[in-house]
Symmetry: C2
Subunit: 666 residues, 2 copies
Amino acid sequence: MVQLQDSHCDLLITGAGPAGLMAALWAARCGIHARIVDKRGTKIFNGQADGLQCRTLEIFDSFGFADRVWKESNHMLEICLWNPDETGRIRRTDRIPDTIPGISRFQQVVLHQGRIERFFLDSLKEYSHIKIERGVLPEQLEIDHSKAEDHHAYPIKAKIRHLDDDEATQAQNGTNVPDGLFRSSLAKDDTDDLIRKSRGKEGTTEVIHAKYMIGCDGAHSWTRRQLGFQMQGEQTDFIWGVLDIVPITNFPDIRMRCAIHSAKSGSIMIIPRENKLVRLYIQLTEVNSAGQQVDRSKITPEIILKAAQKIMSPYELAYDYCDWWTAYQIGQRVGNLFSCDDRVFLAGDAVHTHSPKAGQGMNVSMHDTYNLGWKIGLVVKGLAKRSILRTYQSERRRIAQDLIAFDHRFSRLFSGRPARDAADEAGISMAEFKDAFEKGNMFASGLAVDYGASILVAKPGDSGDQGDGTHVGSKANGTGAFVGKQELASNIKLGMRFPSFQVLNQSDARPWHFGHFLKSDGRFRIIVFAGNLQDEKQWKRLQGFGGSLAKPDSVIRRFTPTAKPIDSVIEILVIHSGPRQKVELLDLHEIFHPFDEKRGWDYEKVFVDDVSYHEGHGEAYKNYGVDKESGCVAIARPDQHVGWIGELEDVKDIDRYFSEVLIAQV
Amino acid sequence: MVQLQDSHCDLLITGAGPAGLMAALWAARCGIHARIVDKRGTKIFNGQADGLQCRTLEIFDSFGFADRVWKESNHMLEICLWNPDETGRIRRTDRIPDTIPGISRFQQVVLHQGRIERFFLDSLKEYSHIKIERGVLPEQLEIDHSKAEDHHAYPIKAKIRHLDDDEATQAQNGTNVPDGLFRSSLAKDDTDDLIRKSRGKEGTTEVIHAKYMIGCDGAHSWTRRQLGFQMQGEQTDFIWGVLDIVPITNFPDIRMRCAIHSAKSGSIMIIPRENKLVRLYIQLTEVNSAGQQVDRSKITPEIILKAAQKIMSPYELAYDYCDWWTAYQIGQRVGNLFSCDDRVFLAGDAVHTHSPKAGQGMNVSMHDTYNLGWKIGLVVKGLAKRSILRTYQSERRRIAQDLIAFDHRFSRLFSGRPARDAADEAGISMAEFKDAFEKGNMFASGLAVDYGASILVAKPGDSGDQGDGTHVGSKANGTGAFVGKQELASNIKLGMRFPSFQVLNQSDARPWHFGHFLKSDGRFRIIVFAGNLQDEKQWKRLQGFGGSLAKPDSVIRRFTPTAKPIDSVIEILVIHSGPRQKVELLDLHEIFHPFDEKRGWDYEKVFVDDVSYHEGHGEAYKNYGVDKESGCVAIARPDQHVGWIGELEDVKDIDRYFSEVLIAQV
């Protein structure tokens, strides 16, 4: 075994699934030196999680590739509930919207994970030299705890082994899930990735010294085992089969998302997919006819299909093409710790596992590292304080706990037998199921996430109670302390993601969803609702605010390295309440449209809430719940969560917020 | 000089600009064997035409890549007119929408030609093996007129020469327009095309025997010269300069499309572009201070900038980065013939040249071959009669004539000096200019195109009068003969493109613009407005219509090769008037949702005019002008132009239409 030289990097990511790729993408966008390794020799081509929440699409949009998902994916619009009638025959009893209307500019869609990984890879290539190193096995992990707080140290020492061909192939097939070849969506741009290993290094070992590390290495996380962290929770008895097929059926709602409860044969969830595929989640009875526990490894596609046919009877179901299939038992577990020394972190399946049917797994996993990546990026670059890293566990472990609670309730209702009548207490009430489904929709959209009080979220309450118990507050938080003025923007919730409504660019009248400008590039944003600029007093307030931000000791100047553009750490965006034609961009204070010697004025920072020529009126002020006359100011974190809200005079509070989070530059 | 073997192809295209690429794309989508050659050694990277009409985006969408243009392009929303006030100072006098609201689902955008060519190349690659053969010079053309009407013959013999490196490079620079290197938008996926020649063949000649040929080889068309065809029209005296710059200016509307008339210094057209670029069309005085005619070759960017600064005064204009520049005189000419024997055709600049400022050139050129490509494709495949080829000249030469008339009027108004007052008859009335601009918008959208009566358009009137004089009518056309019933669908105009409004897919409730389904794949479409299916009589009408189309001797069966899917020559699409939830797809006649043994029922052919969960109500019946109760039937050509309209009982007329156009198959 050849030993390569030691190497150094800012961030080491183990596991190149969605969570790992999201972490890598942040590293790319923040411009830090990251490596991402995966023991598998190839990227995946079929099966696996594929439902995408509204929030996930918003995040993809902030990285610039939501449109590719939107185009290729199947859009799910309606959920049909099918339940047994008094004769036991299944009937469509309800239709409900799959995504609650109005909560996001995107709706829930389905696209297989391989394509999503492709979009990550393309984006990584566009913004960095980061490449997935496949066929790489981590072997040993050491952490020098004494150096955890030393900004310049590399406290993590990871020994990795570059597998040779045979080993990498073995690792890839080392699963007990057989699968078919995914021809239909093996798109042309995937072929290069069929096998891409860390070429030239096969059969060698390497010691990587890293400042930070994220274990995104799945339910059996090697990283978690090295840290000695535990998964807490339980395994359920329910066994489910999954079929990805092109169905031949006379069931009328096969292209809708359906939840079918049969009278006695169990339940099915139908998830229509791209390329005429349909995914079926099929409940299998836990015991065979002899009353013995079913051996999961004995399950075949034929067994699953037969169970499906029974549930869907009298409708017929068959297929000629099966793309993939599997069977699983639901485990509902959360990790006890998400971080060691705020140097090594765990994310995704490594710290939470649950049922796949609600389409949460891949989403929540990506959101974990979406929460973490920019924090590491800013800390490594010396722009932000290390203390922000502590909010990762506080914010994300709480979400994982909420998710398990949701999944527990939802699985019970879905797996249970329908009640025959009101007196049938052992059965599940279909009314309760529908109610849970509708309420669950908000949770399942990913938009209900509400991070607790912390140095990053200036809101009232106890940071421990609002998170997972970790203390992440500051002097400024807590009772009677520094909090944002929620009442100024009733629909921009402190702790939640900044919502998006249509506005127009002041300089060219083009309509945009404002969310489009909250890009994931590592910048904080001060969003100025400038109000009614026709009013002389308001005009002066805005210009005064601009003047404060332009001062030599303002947050903008203090926390931005002198050599960098003035908008590179904190970007200021303005939305005034119109009318567009009464305002001239260049009349606004220069800080709102900075000048560049080579490129002239900046035309992409000032917007207006006005009617568009072709796409109606966004009614942004109304939808944001902001006063059209007096406006307000909000701070959005790099992940679009709202950190603070105040008035145009609250410059000192803005200063307090950033002073707690950022590091003064020279 | 080595002589390669003779080769054969269905279609030879000379010139790989937008017109040639559009022709190649049709060949790819129809599945015929085409070759496309270009004398230039590289694709272009900057400058040149770049305005894209609504109609062009609709066409791109029918090929599947409008979204890429929509994402990368600059969208133009508003036109600002600037005119001198009584003191001679320029003032903003009007704002008008750049695209008339409601006429299309797309608006006019700007993106440089190199990117557009990239999207064509990607689409070609996706659907065919057609590659651009660069560095190829045509040398000799012979046409065997005696074989023009022989379906199996290759009457065209073209000798071409594969240039060696030096020659190809020379050809590329053989223009008198100097240009800068286009760094900013030299996107990563372009690098392979910097130089791509017909490798391995350098320095050889080849004789290509072709069934059909299209000369898309520009204003100095070699093909046109071989045919001996003439350009008719005139050269104007106006000289214009063009600058593509990142402007540094305090002019407030620099990100709007602007038409500026100065009092005495001439006019400017401002076209804001992608990547902070702005294109300026600047009028240069025809004579120098000594009264001598300006030598166009002596013009420099500095001269053009100075002229611009004078026109835009008192606003300042400067730049650090100039991307490209040129100067031109306007020539307004149309070719006398567009086709020889309906075997060799001319398209694009080879048959029409005009001013670039109205953003028409590239669009009209692409529309030429968009009109022609499917006709050649269907004829080569033996699906359609050769007589349809005659409609190319009739339809497109008329458009070219209309374009020159439009351009003549527009150029005069734009180049002229503003009238000082109503008595100043030598000056141009700014009110007249605004009026022309607004009226011109419809023409400039590309949506006003209305093809005359012919075997492809069953409408009243004389085919010669409605076209360019070429006779393209049939026994069925003309007074009292077979015409469509325009009154059944007041906003689906016979001869014009089928408009698009939002409908929902019956099977999954997803909202789509109906235009999305009128794909450019060479198929005719029968679009059935099924009306109110709750009404028993109407239900029977629809099922009866389905039964007629399913008969063994129906147009669907007769004109589709037996071995091919039933929807491969003529596709049937249905839109009923709702409500969605009252109709079950599988209850409709099978011909409306054909069954496939491997893929089950077809879920992508039946739509409903109903409200969506997230995107409102398309009001398609209302917008199409079709009765919600009784509906109607329309035929759309493969290029989406409306060929016929009738009632659900008019099966015989449908038969007459297709019998005139298509060839019965076995």
